[in-house]
Symmetry: D2
């Protein structure tokens, strides 16, 4: 299975615009992905923009799947559902912890908790489904 | 109620990083928002990245609400659910048509259809809920 | 492809507890399914219970798929997302109109609008995904 | 705050058709709700019907909210999203564990894990939002 380094290399190649980085690859299969928060992620008033958190959720799910099945660039999101819970902090990275609930032959389903780094209460929660190509 | 020009001005002020533009403001309350597709929106293989479509869906919902209630910068997304249906074209803008299903006192719910410009089959479909501040 | 009568027969065999009936099978592939509303569907205060509308959405999606691919009892729901929009009437049936957004080889995605019969404003809106068995 | 007994009494009064029972009320605010599985819950082939699990998810969310805010019959579901993960067993009850992710002034958001009783792998996962009346 791929290492943290290999997954980060893949992330930079496959999502060249993404500023996400894989931070942890845990034994239980969960992954931790972070996104910086700066001018480009903030809206007036100091809110982290919703699309930044959706991007983070999508990338975290993708990485959690690749960590389990190996690097399969063709897996595609079929569904993502996100609940925004609290206002994230403007001065911290947003960090996502993702764990798969199911890894079937053709579908993987996972959940993602998003936090402002170092805080206890989640700022968002997402669930998503990826279709996995049959012939890999 | 705000004009197309006023909403576009607001969009640039409130989401300075966004490349979305409001294209149409229809009499039935639906809005059409577009996002360019270029290097920054593509992943290797020529796929428009999922987060671009999520951003477009989120902005389209927001604009559809503001078009009805006036410019209220504090409305916040509480939930967004998106289904990815088909691969978008790499050589066309993505265009979202959004219509509200409900506009209540405290919640607005809308649906968004996303197309590659000029194509008939949708590439994604989203539904979302925004919380509207009480004291506006 | 199956007729309305065949689909209703299947519905009674496959979902023996369901009180849903298929009412229309339209040329564009959309289907109309109805559920009676009586004592068993109401909560105190005269609200149609949420689960009745979720059942109706699920059955309508299933029937819309079967109407297109033939009667395949093994198709299973993988995801259902529903927004409740307005209070349904206590004295009318609830009626769902469902149309598929995508019918792929392994996944079908559809949307469902639910109304109190004869009313114009929808009471709920759902989207759902079904997995279709490969070897059928 | 209400006791387990009071919540079960309320459940029987408010959802007279429901066969759900509240089994646990934990110190961290999570609740455990069960639904029997028998002829009325099974589809041919021995699958627990999807609507049974949606009902269970909806009731578990409702009870988790009431356990925190007191018995407020007017709280209404605004959104429910469910992923079906595995086939439940035909010979066991289905059991839902629900925990709130957010309890705001006007919205509560929770997640629900559903299991066949005694099994380790979840059969479904749901998230839902309830609107809480302002003047309670």
């Amino acid at each position: 299975m791929p290492t943290l380094q290999e997954l980060n290399d893949f992330l930079r190649a496959e999502f060249p615009q993404s500023r996400c980085t894989l931070e942890e690859l845990d034994d239980d299969g969960s992954v931790v992905v972070a996104h910086p928060v700066g001018e480009a992620e903030l809206r007036p008033g100091g809110t982290v923009s919703g699309p930044v958190m959706m991007t983070l959720a999508d990338v975290a799910l993708y990485i959690a799947i690749l960590a389990k099945i190996g690097i399969v660039p063709l897996a595609v999101t079929t569904n993502l559902s996100i609940n925004f819970l609290r206002k994230p902090r403007a001065d911290r990275r947003v960090v996502a912890r993702c764990r798969l609930m199911k890894l079937g032959k053709s579908l993987a389903v996972g959940e993602v908790w998003i936090f402002s780094e170092g805080e206890e209460e989640p700022v968002a929660h997402a669930t998503g489904t990826y279709a996995i190509p049959r012939d890999r």
